[in-house]
Amino acid sequence: MKKDDFIKSILESSNSIKKVEPNIALWNKIETKIYEAENTISNINFWQIAASIVLLISVNAYFLFNQNSIDNKNTAQQLVKITNNQLYSYE
């Protein structure tokens, strides 16, 4: 066989490709996929919800601990003030 004939026969084989119909069961598979997609939380949504919860807890924890340290600081300052404002000296 000559080179040109070989190439021509290969390229022309694309003309003989017939159209085929997909399996009837494919429709059921697509319906199942649609149902699953509609009834499950997507990965992105899941991680968005998880990240929001972590952020909320972190912010709460920060303010809670911060409030405690402010309270402690204020108490200490008041104690100092009281010590400094002693009216009588016992020495």
């Binding site: 080179k3 070989f6 190439i7 026969s9 290969i10 390229l11 084989s13 694309s14 003989s16 490709i17 017939k18 159209k19 085929v20 119909e21 997909p22 399996n23 494919l26 429709w27 598979k29 697509i30 996929k33 649609i34 997609a37």
Partner: protein
């Protein structure tokens, strides 16, 4: 809700052949083409409200099918590379090995020639491959291909020209190998 389902059912009935056959040309394998067809119609269903009538529905579906098919091949290639411990293949498009060739639209007597043709098509770049398949196998016009590929008609002409040239070279090589073996 029901009207969306009815609309989707009619879109599926009209376009199932288009999607299935086009994905078959990309992957040449029944199981993979069915997988792609499912993904395409899932996306069609989910994006039905977003579809703007700037292009025809078949152009839109062609575009989704092309993208899904190319993504599917990329995913398969990367999985294949993972299983050989990250060793990169010589050819990015080599996933479709001859052993997985199972195109139901090809008669037995044309199978050998078609195998060689698709092996050569699989070695083309993504754009050349898409332009060649849409033009020579799907028999679409250049303006239609340009609309599907979101490019100009002259770019499509150039892609088809380069695809043909590349195929010619690949087939010449094949012929030389074939002759040496004999």
């Amino acid at each position: 809700m029901n009207s969306k389902k009815d609309l989707f059912t009619s879109i599926y009935e009209k376009n199932k052949g288009l999607v299935y056959n086009l994905s078959l040309h990309y992957v040449q394998n029944i199981e993979d083409a069915e997988e792609i067809t499912q993904d395409v119609f899932l996306q069609v269903y989910q994006s039905l409200e977003k579809f703007k009538n700037n292009s025809s529905i078949s152009t839109w579906i062609y575009r989704i099918t092309v993208n899904k098919s190319l993504d599917y091949i990329k995913k398969k290639n990367s999985k294949k590379r993972f299983f050989v411990f990250g060793k990169k293949s010589e050819n990015e498009h080599e996933y479709l090995s001859i052993s997985s060739f199972n195109h139901p639209g090809i008669d037995l007597e044309d199978k050998e020639n078609s195998k060689i043709l698709f092996e050569a098509i699989n070695s083309l770049t993504e754009n050349q491959k898409t332009a060649f398949i849409l033009s020579k196998i799907e028999e679409l016009s250049n303006p239609e291909i340009a609309s599907i590929m979101n490019t100009s008609i002259s770019s499509v002409e150039s892609l088809i020209f380069r695809a043909k040239k590349s195929l010619q070279e690949k087939l010449e090589q094949k012929f030389e190998n074939y002759r040496k073996k004999k």
